[in-house]
Every structure is written in C-alpha cells, then in structure tokens.
Subunit: 363 residues, 2 copies
C-alpha cells in the first residue's frame, strides 16, 4: 500500500498527536500511534487515557488498511525528512518512508495493539474556535497545578444556550471569561487543565463542533478530533465569594502594574508568599517589598475612585502578575476592603475577563 | 558615595561576571561580588576558584570605596531596572539603587568578605581576539565532559613565537585549530574547557593581552580581566596518532554530510554508540543505520579521490556531526584504511581547522 503526503502537513499533525501519546508507558500499547489509510486520507490517532486525539490528513492513498507504530520514533523521522513530500509504502510488518535521497524502514505493529478509540460521528453543539480559545487561555493560569483537591486542577466550562463561561480557581485566586454566545449544549463540565492545553493547540479559525457523552467532551475542529475525559466532583460556588462592594478602585495600564510588581517583588521573600504591599492614596499606588537582602519600592500615578479612602493590602506577587497577564490595555483593580477580602481585576478592553485575587493575611 | 552608570553597560558586565560567581557555595564569600568605586569607574569582580573575572565600567562616580554584595541578587535587580540609567548611593551597610520610579535598598557586606583577587598589571603577550575566539570555539567540542582523565577535559593552547594552536581530544576524536600567528609567549598550557566557555563570552574585536604566571593564564580584553587556572598533567602526544596516508578521500559540503548523518542516525541504536555506517564507492557515499525500530539509508554524490578503492567504516554519528559543525563550506574527509584507523576532516574554506574521528571497531 502506498501513500503520498506533504511533509509539512504530516509533521504538523504528528507534532500535535505525538505530544499526547506517551513516549514511555507501563502499558506499551499506549505509546503506539495508529495509522489508518483510507481513500485520499491518512488518519493518525493516539491517546494518553485523559485525551484521545485523531488527525485526518488529505493524502494520495492507494488501498486501505490499519497499522500501528511507536509514535515518538515515527515523529522523529518525519521531522528530519529532507524533502517536501513523503512516500510511505506499507506492508503488514514494515513501513518504508522515502523523502529526497533518504529512505528508512520502520517496523510496524498490528493495529489491534493500539488503544481502541471511538470519536462521535455527529456533534450536538458548536462555538467559534477563537472565542473558545481566548476564554480557555485567559483563565487556565488560575487552576492549581498539584497538591490540591482534584476539581481545582480543572477548568470549569459552563455551556449554556446563550452563554458560555470558562472558570478556574485554586482557592486563592479565580479567573473567569464570560461569552454571550451559546454552544447549543446545556451542561457544566470540568476539563483537566492539562487537557485544556492540548485542546488549545488545535484551535484555529472557524467553528468547533462539541459533543457531550459518557463522561467526555468531544471536540472536532480543522481535521482534529479530541475526546477530553471530564473530571468528577463539585466545582466551588465561586460567585458567592466575589464581593459586591468596593470602596476603592484604581485604573492603570495592566503592563505598568505587572512590570512594577515584578521589579519590586525581586526583594520579596520567596518563603513568605513573595509578598508585595500595595498602598493606594491620593491617586498614587505605592508598591513595596522587603526581604532578607533589602527593601524595594516603586510608585505609579493611577486614576483612583473612592478618593476619601486609602487602601493597604499585601499580595502574593505571582498571583497578582498572573491575573494581569491576559489583559492587554487598561485594567481596573477594585479593592473590597482591608486584609484578606478579595480584590477584583477587570480588563477594560475586554469586559469578558474577570480575575479575583485574595490578599495575604497580614495580622 | 554616588555612582551614575548606564543600565545597559552595567547589565552586560554583570551578566558575564554573574555567570562565574556561584549563586550558592559552601564558602559564602565566593557568592559575593566585589564592587570598587574609583574615579570615573565602577569595577566588579568575582571568582569561582577556576576563573577570576573583573569588569571595569566607565561611570560618573564621586568618591571611592570598596563593597561586596550577593552577586545573583544584584544581578536580578539590575536586569529588571526600568530606566536607561542607574544611580547607586553607597554607604558602609547599604546600596540604594534607583532607576525610573523604582528604588531598592540592598544590604552590603564588607569588601573583605569577598575573595581577594589579583590581576596582572602588565601582560607579556597578545593575539587578535577574533582569531583566538575562532580557534577555541572550533575545537572545544572535542574535549571530554566527564568520567575522563583530567587533561581530556581541557583545551591545550600551544603558544609560540610565530604560531598558536588550540587542541582538544577525548581519546576518541580530536580537533585542532592552527594559527600562523604568535602571541609573544612560549609555552604549552591546558585550560579547563568550562573556563574556555567563560573566556569566549568576553572575546570581541581587537587585541587580547595574555600573561602567564603562577599556574594561571591571565587575559585582558575590552574592559574585562580574567585569570584562568591551568590544569596539571601531560596532554597526549596527539600528532603521533594522526595517520600519514589516506588511500581514499571524498569532498562534499559539510552541511549535506551532517544533515544526512543526523537523519540516518535516527534509526541507530543509542546503546551501541549511535552507530552509522559509511560506504564509499564510485563517487557515491552511502550512509546506513540499523536499530531496534528498523533501518535507514541515504546516498550522496561526492568527489572521490582514490577511486580504485572502496571504504566501509562505522562511526559514532554524534562524533561525526560534531567534527563537521565548525566547517561552513566544503570539507574533505580522508580515510586512512579499514576498521579503527582514524579518519580526518579538513575544512577546505578554513585550512586552520582539522578534526580526527576514530571509527568504531566492527569486528
């Protein structure tokens, strides 16, 4: 059986599939990539148990059949191929890959050794890929990385008829991104943050088809199909903890604040939550930090609302900087009061984004 | 005491000094950077015991004095400074650094806590910095990284009246770079390969002043002074092992050979020296490799001398690729015979460079 495919499209698809397929696994079948040759198509698929992925490429294919190969070896070879096109000649036991003057013969394994993956034939919902990508990218930093209750390591997707919202929190900070656009689905699901990363890598222009079934969210977009296993558990009732009243708020460019906090935080004590102190008074924000090597400070002029009050709060500088990163232009930071009562960041250029950071307890 | 200096020149100098000063050390004095304020100059110095470094910067300085500070903390702060200029106000115990709206106060330590470094006042020799840089860069890959006799982890510098040569070998491959230019010195010295890396970072245009004394090579160039501790031991008599006769040689672009070997070697067994086989016959070079995942091959047309013979040899592909990397254009590869007799690579565009690779024993 003979397949002719462009090197670039094969390498691009493999790069995304190979990231997911583990290069080592206690289950050797899991490190295999399944190759299906169909009329005018080459289909690559693999899984890491949390994410199944399938890539469909247009190819000049004669015949049809199914094979499996060690994913990372195939990936290395394809990336190194010298020519613009790749010819693959497949037999039951061997795949000969030729490109330019280079030829290699790779051992094949029976397709039945690879995991059996099932992707839905049709999809009940859909959303614009750029919007979904922006929503997930904006909030995923707020998910916990480890040592936390499982749901904190996920991103919640609230899929409604007329609204879609992505939310992440680790209990110390929270971010959500609210779209006034529905998906045709009606459900709240929690996707592991690491699976969100893999989904983001395939999202491009156009529509994403979505389908919910049997504990997984299936996505189809631009030649890629993914099944994302959902997390069990109850996501915290986050709206309850967002304060209603803010006696003081300030407006300034997100980048100015992020850069100033980064500089000042160089002196902060890493073993004391990278603490920086913010002091707002008379239209000026003063940022200070102190640690074993010394003390630093920086002042920024801001537009202040609630000028009859002053605010003095301490934050983990890393959380503050993370909250500012998705915002491009001006932001408003709203302070709900003293000590450990949450502060809220709004992106004035993109009101869909909201971040909340809980200040450090200082007394 | 007050010093005004440009942020860029301070950050550039610190980047080079900070690389050498260890951020942690069982000897706490070693992680200090010494700061000397002199008339119109700021002098930074530090050491890792193998390399002493001193950087002299033009600065607007009032007063004079010596201080010490934890190098990596000072480095982090300077890199983050927002302005184009830096003002440093120094007292016995504190340095206040200001730039733009940002101010920080850093604890100082007595200068006597930092290592005492002595750099020569005058230098007996010199050489063009670009030539020395090219010579050291071209050969240092051939030095051993670990688990070898000490001298194999060094680069030998043969300093003569009318010639200068840099040589490195790990016993399996060798590289030298031969300059028909003297230094005014007359000695053979061995510099640790890691110290060579630090020297390469300060070499730029112009002359390098050189001085040999008390087991160290001192270098002065473009505001930087370095003392490089020399290695004891006898460097192998490498010229003896370079073969005199080569029945077959081939000429081809270095990049074509390196790329083809890289591609074919993807199938080579990492546990069997990344073996690739080269077969030269009738103006064609065939490269093959075989491993547990399969077999690959590539053929390249070459200009062959000694066409009545054919050559079949095996190499560690990594050593072959390393030997080709310093060469830009065409290279000649000369084969001295069969099995483990060395092959030699000459860069036709730069005859100063020679590399030797010992083939793998295959019987």
């Amino acid at each position: 059986m003979r397949v002719l495919v462009s090197k670039k499209s094969l390498a691009d698809a493999l790069a995304r599939v190979e990231r997911i397929v583990p290069s080592r696994s206690s289950n050797p079948g899991l490190s295999l990539l399944r190759i299906d040759v169909q009329d005018d198509a080459l289909v690559l698929s693999g899984s890491n148990m949390d994410v199944d992925i399938r890539a469909r490429l247009t190819a000049d294919a004669r015949g049809s059949g199914s094979f499996a190969v060690t994913a990372h070896v195939f990936g290395q070879i394809v990336r190194a191929l010298p020519g613009e096109d790749v010819t693959m000649e497949l037999t039951e036991s061997e795949m000969q890959i030729s490109s330019g003057n280079y030829t290699t013969k790779l051992q094949l394994v029976a397709a039945s050794s690879a995991p059996v993956l099932v992707f839905p034939e049709s999809h009940a919902g859909s959303i614009d890929a750029r919007l979904l990508s922006r929503a997930l990218s904006a909030v995923k930093y707020a998910a916990a990385v480890a040592d936390f209750q499982a749901v904190f390591r996920g991103v919640k997707l609230e899929l409604g008829e007329t609204r879609t919202r992505a939310v992440a929190t680790d209990g110390f900070r929270l971010a959500y991104y609210h779209l006034e656009a529905g998906t045709g689905l009606e459900a709240d699901v929690i996707v592991p943050a690491r699976s969100v990363d893999e989904l983001l890598r395939v999202l491009d222009d156009g529509e994403v088809a979505l389908h919910l079934d049997a504990g997984q969210l299936s996505v189809e977009h631009g030649g890629y199909s993914l099944n994302l296993k959902l997390m069990d558990g109850t996501f915290p009732d986050y709206e309850r903890v967002i304060p209603a009243n803010y006696p003081v708020s300030i407006t300034l460019p997100a980048l100015s604040l992020a850069e100033a906090v980064s500089r000042v935080a160089l002196m902060a004590d890493k073993s004391a939550n990278n603490r920086v102190d913010l002091f707002v008074k008379d239209g000026q924000l003063q940022i200070t930090a102190e640690g074993s090597f010394g003390r630093s400070q920086e002042a920024i002029d801001v537009t202040q609302e609630g000028t009859d009050s002053e605010i003095q709060l301490a934050y983990n500088s890393k959380y503050l900087i993370d909250a500012l990163t998705p915002a491009a232009g001006d932001i408003r930071v709203r302070f709900s009061g003293i000590n450990a009562s949450p502060s809220v960041v709004n992106d004035l250029g993109d009101p869909a984004y909201l971040a909340m950071v809980v200040p450090l307890r200082t007394s």
